[in-house]
Amino acid sequence: MALTLAPETAWSRLPDSQWNQDAARHLLRRAGWTALPGDVERATKEGLSATLDRLFPDTVPVFNQPRQTAHMVTEAEELQEKVQAANEEDKRLLYREFQQKSRNAIVDMTIHWMRYAARPDSAVFAKWILFLSDIYVVGYEKVQRAPMIYKHFDIISRYAFAPAPLLTKAISRSPAMIQYLDLNQSQKKAPNENFARELFELFTLGEGNYTEKDIKEAARALTGYRLRKGSELYYQPNQHDTGLKTIFGETGNFNGDDVIRLTYKQRAAGAFVPHEMVKFYLSDTMIDKSYLYSLGDQWRAQGYSLQWLAKTFFGSTLFFDPSFRGEFIKSPIQYYLGLVQDLNLDIIPVPRLVINPLRQMGQVLFDPPNVRGWVGGRNWINSSSLAARRSLAESLFAPFYEAGLNEDEKLDVAAARAQGRGIFTVENSRFQSILSLSPEEITQKLTTGLLAQSTSPALKESITNYIASAENVPGERLRRVKRSMVSLISSPQYQLT
């Protein structure tokens, strides 16, 4: 990767003269899941600044709490009451039943979130939330409560474009995070360092920008956090260490909020989120530190506004550098949602048909492998995960196998259809309008906007020849057009964005 830009100017706005369809496509693909031709046209016409204002707006599209998850809050309250009167054996049964319901709720929430994220008007924001949740990681496997996971994501949404210190402060109050990193286990006498360590290493500064002593002292300041009824935060003064602590060279009777305030006084805090953005949105190969610090310093001067950061990053000359275009491997979620948008489909409301492919491709929503989040990039790809991508692509073109559904799944499918969200696979009728065109024209229609890199003449020729050599029997051309499409979305080229 040869970036020739000067660090001081790399983050300045892309000149209008360089704003064109290709640039718009790059922006839409990276900020969202894909670039639909209509959206590319609109963005090109509106200009870069107006497009950024639209993609990163002041008022954001909210992800509403799914009913099943909301209901778990009531369930949790009822559980508390029931447990009090129960004997040991019944208690265990009650907890188990609760856990099962919570598990169903998180599965249901996954479907709802995928549906929300696939909507054109919320795609970019949903991806931004996914990005932030890949910094402030919690996992269902440990948290075990769907409403807590929802609340965590809701906190991120509310502060998604706020100053980062406010977001971090809110995260330190997120019950899911408190549980995930054992903050509620931290005692005055024996402070648990888990949260303090990840706060510095994975949420705000990055390795090498703090000492072990800073962690120990910060852990002392971060005492007194407790959860009530399993999910409600309260402050326990007698578990808080009120002694003097020295963190980043400053001494005082600090509490958790002070730790966060002190953290954001470090220069490294400015470079950290830009570093994570490059990793999540831009490139497998990390750019030079000088670029990160250049953006970081400007961001700090802007009071760490995440909205400013998003607009600056996605509008910068560096972001649009040709060396980055079409060179990034899609995450499984982006592959899935990109397909759903490119093929104009609805998310099928059958958990196993959504979650199993995601799992096989290596990314289950709400359940990252550990607090580091997903590594991403080339790590997404191996022979099994690539086979899983192909199998997902193929499944979207086969008539969906209804007889294989279980009874409860049939009900959900019927409900989705009744709501007009029942197109789960690509139907033959979708191709009718292009069948009478010439093979070259069909190839043009199929490939337009689909691939991140410009479609090579050789690739087009392969597809064109394949379609052109169809025998003149009924249905054969349609079959070949469908095969072409399946091959295209399974191709190495389509995995790139």
Binding site: R96, Q99, Q100, R103, N104, V107, Y140, E141, D284, E327, F328, I329, P351, R352, L353, N356, P357, R359, Q360, D367, P369, R378, I381, N382, S383, S384, S385, L386, A387, A388, S391, L392, E394, S395, A398, Y401, A403, G404, N406, E407, D408, E409, Q453, A458, L459, S462, I463, Y466, R479, R480, R483, V486, S487, L488, S490, S491, P492, Q493, Q495, L496
Partner: protein
């Protein structure tokens, strides 16, 4: 086969691929700047791999929740007929296995296997704190976890983590193959490390479509660009799996079966598995799905059709393996996410339940009834209680068949049973 038989122009093994690369100037030479470590390693290590232990496991998933009580019928038990006044199977119809238990009348093939000493029946298999969701209970069986713990990896995947860590990365033959599954690779196959797995048939495209897609993809991933780009990396990875696919397809197309398999996707999948075993692939585990057991209403018709398919499929598979003298290498085992409620419902069907029997077939099994039958002196709508933990079955297969310590794979010590 003569060693100097002319090869087709398409390489069908990695080694062949590399060889043809060397002579025809495609492949390795062309992308020598970017030869991923697995390619380099395998060119360095072209000596054939030592013949490993060849014991093979075939898993058959009965998806949807098979009704155990109408598969293995306790025909002397009055409670059975009390709980199932409409769908209970009459005593004089069952195929007797013992004085108290008998097969559903459509299970003639399985009955013969039982009598020939090639089928073990493990009764009343389940796990504590049963979950009645298809999705979740399947997950529990596939991850072999406690029902209140969500596991991230499958038991076969963990077995492969254990057993195949020494396999050179360059050997790209799949270690596990699945066929006819509803949605891609089963969770069972997911390990801590990625393993080369491969999927066959299922509800995917037909052979012609699959072949044409493969050819198109070969064209699209052809001519590696010889640089460090993500695209080159993807092309190489894809090319790898296309090589495997071509090889597998060739094996399947050239196979001559010695048995009459059911002419269904399931029967066909079993035949394909037999062909791959006969081709001496290093694959250790196969996973085939038979789906549709969620019989909430009019159970008799649906379950009869499915059990016929299962029974005839198993019988044909065993016969085929025997004809090819492969039967000593293969153990076949069924499982289902749960059994069904002991009492029938109002629609002449059964609702989700708990434990059920599973079947293990092979020339090396200790045939007969294992474990104990479920107690049925329960009120209507109450579930039966399992008597054998499914992880004991897994432990037996791991220890006694695959000869692999089970504790690390299953995350705990489970006693082994006597069916192998």
């Amino acid at each position: 086969m003569a060693t100097n038989t002319p090869q087709s122009s398409i390489p069908t093994t990695r080694r062949e691929f590399l060889r043809s690369s060397a002579t025809k100037g495609i492949g390795l030479l062309a992308f020598s700047q970017f030869a991923p470590s697995f390619l380099v390693n395998s060119t360095l290590a072209q000596a054939p791999k030592a013949e490993k232990d060849r014991s093979i496991l075939v898993l058959i998933q009965l998806a949807g929740g098979n009704d155990g009580l109408n598969t293995l019928v306790p025909f002397q038990n009055d409670d059975y007929y009390r709980l199932r006044p409409n769908i209970g199977i009459a005593k004089d119809k069952v195929l007797r296995l013992s004085d108290t238990e008998g097969f559903n009348p459509v299970c003639g093939g399985m009955h013969n296997l039982f009598k020939d000493g090639k089928l073990a029946v493990i009764q009343n298999v389940g796990y504590p704190n049963p979950n009645r969701s298809h999705f979740r209970s399947t997950e529990i069986w596939e991850t072999a976890s406690d029902s209140d713990r969500v596991g991230a990896t499958g038991w076969i995947g963990r077995y492969l983590d254990n057993a195949c860590s020494g396999t050179p990365e360059g050997d790209h033959d799949p270690v596990a193959i699945h066929a006819n599954t509803l949605n891609g690779a089963p969770e069972s196959f997911i390990g801590e490390n990625p393993h080369a797995t491969f999927g066959l048939g299922g509800y995917g495209p037909n052979r012609k479509d699959a072949e044409e897609t493969r050819r198109l993809l070969e064209t699209l991933s052809g001519s590696p660009s010889g640089d460090h780009s993500s695209e080159s990396f993807l092309k190489h990875t894809l090319m790898d799996s296309l090589v495997t696919e071509t090889k597998v397809q060739k094996v399947i197309n050239g196979y001559r079966t010695q048995a009459n398999y059911p002419t269904t996707p399931f029967g066909n999948s079993l035949k394909n598995v037999a062909s791959l075993i006969a081709a001496n692939l290093p694959t250790r585990v196969y996973f085939v799905t038979l789906n549709g057991f969620d019989t909430h209403y009019n159970q008799i018709a649906t379950q009869s059709r499915l059990l016929t398919e299962l029974s005839n499929g198993l019988a044909a598979f065993q016969k085929d393996l025997e004809a090819h003298k492969l039967d000593n290498q293969v153990l076949t085992m069924t499982f289902s996410e749960f059994g069904r409620r002991a009492s029938e419902n109002e629609s002449k069907g059964t609702d989700h339940g708990t434990a059920s029997p599973l079947f293990v077939m092979g020339s090396k099994v200790k045939a007969g009834l294992h474990g104990t039958a479920p107690l049925l002196n329960i009120p209507k709508n109450q579930d039966i209680t399992f008597s054998t933990d499914f992880r004991s079955v897994y432990a037996t297969v791991l220890e006694k068949w695959l000869e692999n310590p089970s504790e690390a794979v299953l995350g705990g010590k489970f006693s082994t049973l006597g069916f192998v």
